[in-house]
Symmetry: D3
């Protein structure tokens, strides 16, 4: 159903295999999900996007579970089925319970609601919410 | 510039004042931001939305700072200036640093990027990401 | 601030003036708003979009006020300031009160909320909601 | 396929059953659709969202059929399959014909088109469209 | 699964058949895709949308392949499965290779990413990017 | 007005200056626009996003002007003022005329329109548009 073919490890050129191996090593898993198999149609894009994901989702000022939950919130807002499912699975692996998922989506949905009240009424931003120049 | 007038406390009917007082009490502040002054044009909506915000944003399975950051991520995704500014301010009040804000937006932006790769290539969801029926 | 210049009636070529005159005649007004002055940079687009607006917004199976309100709901959802302001003004001219505007945005916002709960939880459509094939 | 399980009436705790009964009573129906069965994983969210839907969609300054059609317009704009199907069914039950549905989507689609012309050209809002301060 | 029935040529009234024939003639094909069969439920909408597509997608200041690729970029951004698939097929017919598709989606996705960094940080537009008034 | 401060060259740490110099060199210009000055609050993000932009927007299977126009189409669809203005300026520098901009936005807007007709009617994808598995 995909618009490009999925590139399996055994059919992949060396630069794709190198990324696949890095993914499996960083994630401590032994399989590659379809997202990467699709991007492998363009090895430079595969490498670039994986490097970005690896850098952005690593522990930093925010912990990785919070990052996965932000990812789910954005994906649900955009209606992306693939990313909603894959990042919900990733968040669960990091400890997200059903109660946390329900609360996460309640916040996500509420923000979508109030975004439209603010945008629809064209409410001016209070000066107090603007940082000093 | 707003499409409705801002209802100030001194001009507000009793049911609006009651909500304003609850907002100031729960938030331990002495002023009301424009979002609520705009909603006050419909006291039933003001009450309902405030009750939702109060319930959803309270501590629960997720901590309030995480919830504020999810709110910022959704508001940035939707391009809502008002909510981006107000919830960034709220998150900062709860301890979000500039480093955390930058990382939050890096995750938000990356999710917006990969959402379009997945949707544009119509990548099928891996069975492993689907919960058992 | 616009990315193209606004084409005023006195500076417009005949095919643009013809559209401007039709707009003023159909709308029973004596001025042209910026949306059309911007589209006039491409007379074929100006003509095509005006013909579409004239056809779609005319009385039909739905009454024109309902159509204007649907327009506001979509524009608020997309965060389009220009269309939110212009179609709110148009709806008010056709009788929309402040109470109706507030209710319209309450519905719009609620739909945006529940859209994300449905999409975020990937809730399957009930067979009863699908029309017979 | 859903990311959470559907909670059936017979498996539901009392506070969920109470909401289900209210839904069936208000809607004069004898079944519960999947949206509520999914929200029931968090009884507080189920109660809050149902109370919001009940309040917002009730007759008021706008009639319920208009509200259902606005709901369809927003859901189509956001690409939410579940809500598009469920609210189209609800609007049909209240009298929406195929001709009305086609016109509703023609308005929705046209608004999505002109929203991008206005946003893409960054067209300034005419002063006449702004309410007096 | 569609919310309206597909109108086949043999069941179509004359004004619908006339549009179908124009579509097949302009596109040099002998079949009609579902998009038009669905719009045919409202012959005036079918005629108007087809006339718009015919005008907008014709060779002009931009070549038709570029236009098809822009269409794919927008459809991927909005998560529209139907238009993503149909316009990817149309672009391929006009010469888009897999390498071009991958690059197109890389640009599309990157724009979605940086749009949220700019909107999330509320970065002011540099005066140099604004055309002289 | 931005939510973070703009980092000027003279105030920037060495790793930020290195990126700024690369930007000016690749773009053959002597100034840095606000987007990068805002990202500079997180040097790792600045470096990563610039490297992505440099790679993705370089000549490849698509020419750089087409890429800039796709960027404008996505930014207009998302309502991102900053990116709409900056990439319109970039596209003009590469040869985009007013006629090309108007056509680009006509395609962008039309795609946004038909996306909602397809999504709103839930039109099934024709098998002919699906690539062989």
């Amino acid at each position: 159903m995909s618009l490009v073919k999925m590139i399996e490890y055994q059919d992949a050129p060396p630069e794709v295999r190198a990324v696949y191996e890095d993914i499996m090593s960083v994630r401590e898993t032994d399989w590659i999900n379809n997202f990467w198999k699709a991007l492998a149609n363009d090895p430079a894009t595969l490498r670039r996007v994986w490097d970005s994901v690896k850098q952005v989702m690593a522990p930093g000022a925010l912990d990785p579970l919070v990052k996965e939950m932000v990812y789910v919130a954005v994906s649900a807002t955009n209606g992306c089925e693939y990313c909603t499912c894959s990042h919900t699975a990733a968040a669960r692996k990091r400890g997200m319970t059903d109660a946390m998922l329900m609360e996460l989506l309640a916040v996500t949905a509420l923000a979508n609601e109030t975004n439209r009240l603010a945008n629809g009424l064209r409410i001016p931003v209070d000066p107090a919410f603007r940082p000093p120049a």
